[in-house]
């Protein structure tokens, strides 16, 4: 990271600390905001969060590593999470998964080379009556067909 980027990141985290407080319970909301914006929590951000909340950086890392929606390695602008659990599975998850992989040219767990899309599986997302379902960033899409899923991906800017 460049010095300027570092300064900007520090400022941003300081603002988040003002918003959520500097007690331990502010940690996850702060991480969620950074994650939402940068699609990961960079090492430098982890250090700064630890410093401002007065906890050890390893505590920050340990929390990030626990939650599947928080990560330390960069992900795409859009994180696509296809539900892999049984009700969606029975409604045709596998065909949707194959169509998406073909279209994007990547496998689940991977990110497109232009850093636009990361493909992941999620466990039951609470749309079992309308499967197969997937979530892109925070939006949910249901009753997918392979064709509809691909169309949704192609409409991402």
């Amino acid at each position: 990271m460049l010095v300027m980027e570092k300064n900007a990141m520090t400022e941003e985290i300081e603002e988040l600390v003002l918003k959520y407080g500097n007690q331990r319970s502010a940690l996850i909301p702060i991480l969620q905001d950074i994650q939402r914006k940068y699609k990961h929590i960079p090492d430098f951000a982890q250090q700064e969060i630890a410093r401002l909340l007065d906890i050890h950086p390893v505590e920050v890392f340990s929390v990030i590593s626990f939650y599947s929606f928080l990560n330390t390695e960069p992900k795409g602008k859009y994180i696509v999470r296809l539900c892999q659990t049984i009700s969606c599975d029975m409604q045709g998850k596998a065909a949707v998964a194959k169509a998406i992989e073909r279209e994007l040219g990547i496998k689940f767990g991977e990110t497109t080379r232009d850093s636009k899309v990361t493909l992941e599986y999620a466990n039951c997302v609470g749309m079992c009556d309308q499967g197969p379902a997937l979530i892109i960033n925070e939006r949910v899409y249901s009753k997918l067909t392979p064709e509809k899923a691909v169309q949704i991906l192609n409409e991402l800017k």
Binding site: R24, I86, N123, D129
Partner: protein
């Protein structure tokens, strides 16, 4: 939010927003606890703990601060009734929290909303704002002096185990969502070490109805031991999946009829951590005294491969185990390996029986409900569908 035209005896019956809180504030705390005790309401999050008992303990506690937490982590596979309540009936859920706050003496309510439901956040926060305008939240609620109560929403970050109440509290406190040893229970040592009520969305949504119509009215629905109604999240092989409000005591075959399921071979009740019920037991009742459940109903017709179903469940648990204790961390991996051996036809019956024994050990030795219940489906599917799975009668696995 658009309200669908839903019908039901209790939760989906008509309700005028504000009615429950208004009535509650005209009653004493003891009267409210009395009505809830009368209603015999039990927790809808799965464990079925009497709500009145929980509230009474926290109401009696002396502490600087107390909390009411709404558990909206809804992660059990096949469950989506809390989604419907939050999207279509937020007034019931939030008013339930206000009434809880008044009764137990808390000024702060927290909704722990699963990260997957972030898309609801905006509409829920807007709704809270409108409640503030109506003075159903904030200071001196509906003119009641010194009754101040606010609700905030915290988002989860994709961990099923955070639905377990102590893991949820750890997560709210900014930690890894690892379950704590219980006791102490949250009613004594909860959020920030303070007395805390953790209730499921559906439990809280029942409260305004109970308060406005009375505990006795509520108890008229359902059975002797399971009072009231239950929301069932129905998915899988049927014509009409969705959320249904039915009285406790409804049998599986009645439910299958309502949702227009055909050629049903099995019904998974209670999600991945529940039980797989074969056709021969479809006359059993959904009730605390027979098959207790948080309401997840997944239907499988004759064409489904039950070993594949079981594999899906075990993959779920291997991913979602928090890894804190050995029986669950290692046990689930061993059970999944066992399923894969059967799938390939490379297994010994003696080893599979050992794995069932391991499953029983996990039920006793695991630290939290996840590991204590994850082997339920392993044991019930291998028992109830052994013909299909081991003898090849209809299944693909009798190689």
């Amino acid at each position: 939010m658009e309200k669908k035209n839903r019908k039901g005896a209790v939760l989906f019956s008509s309700y005028k927003p504000g009615e429950g809180v208004k009535k509650a504030l005209s009653l004493s705390r003891e009267d409210i606890l009395f009505e809830i005790r009368e209603s015999k309401l039990k927790g809808r999050g799965g464990a079925g703990f009497p709500t009145a008992t929980k509230w009474t303990i926290v109401a009696a506690a002396i502490a600087d601060q107390k909390y009411i937490i709404c558990n909206a982590d809804e992660g059990e596979p096949g469950t989506f009734k809390d989604r419907v309540l939050l999207l279509e009936y937020p007034e019931l859920v939030f008013e339930g929290m206000v009434i809880a706050g008044y009764t137990i003496g808390a000024t702060k309510g927290i909704v722990y909303l699963r990260g997957e439901y972030e898309y609801m956040l905006k509409s829920l926060e807007d709704f809270l704002e409108s409640m503030k305008k109506d003075n159903l939240l904030g200071k001196n609620i509906l003119g009641k002096e010194n009754f101040n109560f606010d609700i905030t929403i915290s988002l989860g970050s994709g961990a099923y185990v955070c639905g377990e109440e102590t893991a949820l509290i750890e997560s709210l406190e900014g930690n890894r969502g690892e379950a704590r040893n219980r006791p102490p229970y949250p009613v004594n040592t909860g959020y920030m070490g303070m007395p805390t009520v953790v209730n499921n969305v559906e439990t809280l949504a029942s409260i305004p109805h109970i308060i406005s119509k009375g505990g006795e009215w509520y108890r008229k629905h359902g059975t002797d031991k399971s009072s009231g109604s239950k929301l069932f999240s129905v998915s899988g092989d049927c014509e009409k999946p969705g959320v249904y409000e039915l009285p406790w005591g409804t049998t599986i075959s009645e439910l299958l009829h309502i949702v227009k399921a055909k050629n049903t071979k099995a019904v998974q009740v209670g999600g991945a951590s529940g039980l797989c019920i074969p056709k021969s037991q479809f006359e059993r009742a959904l009730a605390y005294e027979d098959i207790a459940t948080g309401g997840s109903i997944i239907i499988f017709n004759e064409s489904r491969n039950m070993l594949h179903v079981l594999k899906n469940f075990m993959e779920f648990f291997v991913e979602e185990s928090c890894g804190q204790c050995t029986p669950c961390r290692i046990g689930n991996v061993k059970l999944l390996e066992g399923v894969e051996m059967i799938e390939k036809g490379e297994y010994k019956f003696s080893y599979i029986n050992q794995l069932k024994g391991l499953g029983k050990t996990m039920q006793i030795a695991s630290k939290c409900g996840l590991g204590q219940s994850s082997s339920n489906s392993f044991i019930s599917i291998l028992e109830n569908f052994k013909d299909e799975i081991f003898n090849g009668n209809g299944g693909a696995n009798g190689k």
